[in-house]
């Protein structure tokens, strides 16, 4: 039988050979308890409340609340807005990350800072910007209106506000990844005769796909859940320009708690599905992800 000298000395000199980074049992237990308690109190409890309230009067009531025409149109609108805003930001995010990570140009630092702007500005202001730009008192609004294009209080305005708010997610996720990977893979592909497009499609995209997916999932979660900016440009026309978060507010203000929580639960569910999807993908492809980060 092999003699494990490490454990032998552990038993004889328990206090001398403790690893430098290990904590006492009490400290560990306290830290874990604090972390779990915090998560429970501030994350799990509210989330559970949403679902409990939604199903307080049973599943039938829940389903009929969602089947309400106004609510249903809000769900459709949310999906439409996210469906347009996310691909737009996907394209923008990849382009911006590519430019910042792989090229040197004047104004690069400025662009990098600018990408963070939507994170640092209050969403209400983000919405207000578009009201000022396309409002009836400004040059752009009436001109577009004369061509029959309605921006404010319509789907285009909602999309614009959502794009603005969710602008940084994909780019922020990709920039560090692409900077770390450098340009030698692309140079290798080009030196082998690949065109720019072939290089992007066969080399760059596969290298960034996990980061890209993560960015898109986060972007999508935010696009569906955005309240402030969308609220300003929406105009709250029932059944037309109310997204799910706006619909929740309206229903809540009308004391229609079951319906409000039903929509909220659906919204929360979408967010949860996004996170579960992300975790599942990470588990499923953990080897590949690790390989693409190191190598």
């Amino acid at each position: 039988m092999a003699l494990d000298t490490g454990s032998a000395s552990n038993t004889t000199l328990p206090n001398l050979v403790k690893a430098a980074t290990s904590e006492t049992r009490l400290a560990r237990a306290t830290l874990i308890a604090v972390a779990l308690g915090f998560v429970g109190l501030f994350l799990l409890l509210p989330l559970a409340t949403v679902f409990i309230e939604a199903f307080r009067k049973g599943a039938d009531e829940f389903l009929s609340a969602l089947g309400d025409p106004e609510t249903f149109s809000a769900i459709l609108l949310t999906l439409t807005v996210a469906g347009i805003a996310v691909p737009l930001n996907l394209a923008f995010g990849v382009a911006a990350a590519w430019a910042i990570a792989k090229f040197e140009f004047k104004g690069k630092a400025f662009l990098t800072t600018l990408i963070d702007l939507p994170f640092s500005v209050s969403p209400v202001i983000s919405g207000l910007v578009f009201v000022l730009l396309f409002g009836a008192n400004n040059a752009l609004g009436p001109i577009l209106q004369s061509y029959g294009v309605q921006i404010l209080f319509a789907v285009p305005g909602l999309v614009l506000a959502t794009v603005f708010v969710t602008f940084p997610f994909v780019a922020r996720e990709l920039i560090p990844l692409m900077q770390e990977q450098g340009t030698s893979d692309e140079e290798a592909a080009l030196s082998l005769g690949a065109t720019g497009w072939q290089t992007f499609w066969h080399v760059t995209l596969p290298n960034i796909k996990w980061g890209l997916l993560y960015g898109v999932l986060l972007c999508n979660a935010r696009a569906m859940g955005e309240f402030g900016a969308v609220s300003v440009v929406s105009g709250h026309i029932r059944g037309e320009t109310n997204t799910m978060p706006l619909q929740v507010e309206i229903l809540y203000n009308e004391y229609n708690f079951v319906a409000a929580f039903a929509v909220a639960a659906l919204l929360a569910l979408l967010a949860l599905v996004t996170l579960i999807l992300k975790t599942a993908l990470e588990l499923r492809y953990s080897h590949e992800i690790a390989a693409s980060r190191s190598h």
Binding site: A189, L192, A194
Partner: protein, 369 residues
């Protein structure tokens, strides 16, 4: 294919990386660009590849002006220090990439691509690993795959940027020998960059020594080692000692005594004497020689290295002796004289106008007496 670099200048921003560099690379030769970091060797390689474009100057591939062509059009094979293998592709897909991305009219049929990739895999001695991913290979294996990938496009010239830089010493030695064999078998014109002089001298047909964005010397490994044209090359290649000496009446003086070396026809004045640790003869006491105290002694493989302090303000010199001779010498005091040496003089060292501009060099075989 023959590659000619003509009067290339390259600036990054306002900082010059290469200044007026010209170099002829012969068809089929294996040539090394050697220099310390920051000497511009990698920049020169990337300019030949077309990964950078020169600020001024021209690069010819054969008789064609390649500087007007993009990296794709130049048809080169480039091997990167950190392999740059496509991590999501198998070894086989990596090697066949260059053929697969060709436009349909120049692309071989799929079966042919596969056959060629498998042939190359055999050439680099990795048969059977075609389904592996880069992450499942060792560093040495990855670099072999990278070389196979570069050779798959049948390049005009093969360019290797510190190909063994990221590998450990043992693997490096093996791959060096192996690269030489591959080169002899395939005959690709090959340029590789290295900061390792041993690698350059052992592997290359010719070595280009670079420093501070300029070429110091181009020559065979023997030329470079035996006839360095500048103090930089003397100091950079191999071990060397340098001493500040004085010329007087055709004799070389160290401090207050002549050391038995003659440099006739040279004007009087200060100069720098270079000699290699192994190019010396031991003397039993002397009238004209270098003598000093042995301050340290180390056995390095087949020779013994002695550190000798010559006294005065000069740094101590190192000499190499066969172990049996070293043990027979008195361990506290030795007398010796360089048998092969070189004298470099700055123009400003010599007042006489007869001396050529910049650096003049006197190189001498043994003085004979």
């Amino acid at each position: 294919m023959e590659v000619r670099v003509q009067n290339i200048r390259k600036e990054f921003g306002r900082y010059p990386a290469l200044e007026d560099v010209s170099l002829d690379i012969r068809s089929g030769e294996l040539i090394a660009l050697l220099g310390p970091s920051g000497s511009g060797k990698t920049t020169l390689l990337r300019l030949i590849a077309g990964l950078e474009s020169p600020t001024e100057g021209t690069i010819f591939f054969g008789n064609e002006d390649a500087s007007q062509k993009s990296v794709q059009q130049r048809n080169i094979g480039f091997v990167f220090q950190h392999y740059a293998l496509f991590r999501h592709m198998t070894v086989l897909d990596n090697i066949s990439f260059g053929l697969k991305v060709r436009p349909a009219n120049r692309r071989p049929p799929a079966a042919e691509i596969r056959r060629r990739a498998l042939d190359l895999l055999e050439l680099v001695q990795l048969s059977g690993l075609e389904k592996r991913y880069p992450a499942q290979l060792s560093g040495g294996q990855r670099q072999r795959v990278a070389l196979a990938r570069a050779m798959a496009v049948e390049p005009n010239v093969l360019l290797l940027d510190e190909p063994f830089g990221a590998l450990d010493a043992q693997v490096r030695k093996e791959l060096r020998k192996w690269l030489r064999e591959i080169h002899d078998r395939t005959g690709h014109t090959t340029v590789f960059v290295t900061h390792d002089q041993e690698e350059a001298l052992e592997l290359a047909d010719r070595v280009v020594v670079m420093s501070k964005g300029a070429i110091e010397q181009v020559g065979t490994p023997d030329d470079i080692y035996d006839h360095p044209v500048s103090p930089f090359v003397y100091g950079f290649i191999g071990q060397s000692n340098c001493l500040d000496v004085t010329l007087a009446g055709g004799e070389i003086w160290f401090e207050d005594r002549p050391i038995g070396l003659r440099a006739a026809n040279e004007p009087d004045g200060p100069a720098t004497l270079y000699f290699r640790p192994h190019d010396i003869e031991l003397l039993d006491g002397c009238g004209g020689c270098l003598a000093g105290l042995v301050t340290a002694s180390r056995r390095v493989a087949g020779t013994r290295h002695l550190e000798v302090s010559l006294g005065g303000t000069q740094p101590s010199v190192e000499i190499e002796l066969p172990p049996e001779r070293a043990s027979s010498t008195d361990h506290s005091r030795v007398a010796f004289r360089p048998t092969r040496w070189k004298l470099y003089r700055e123009a400003s060292d010599v007042a006489a106008a007869s001396v050529q501009a910049q650096t003049s060099a006197i190189e001498l075989a043994p003085t004979g007496t």
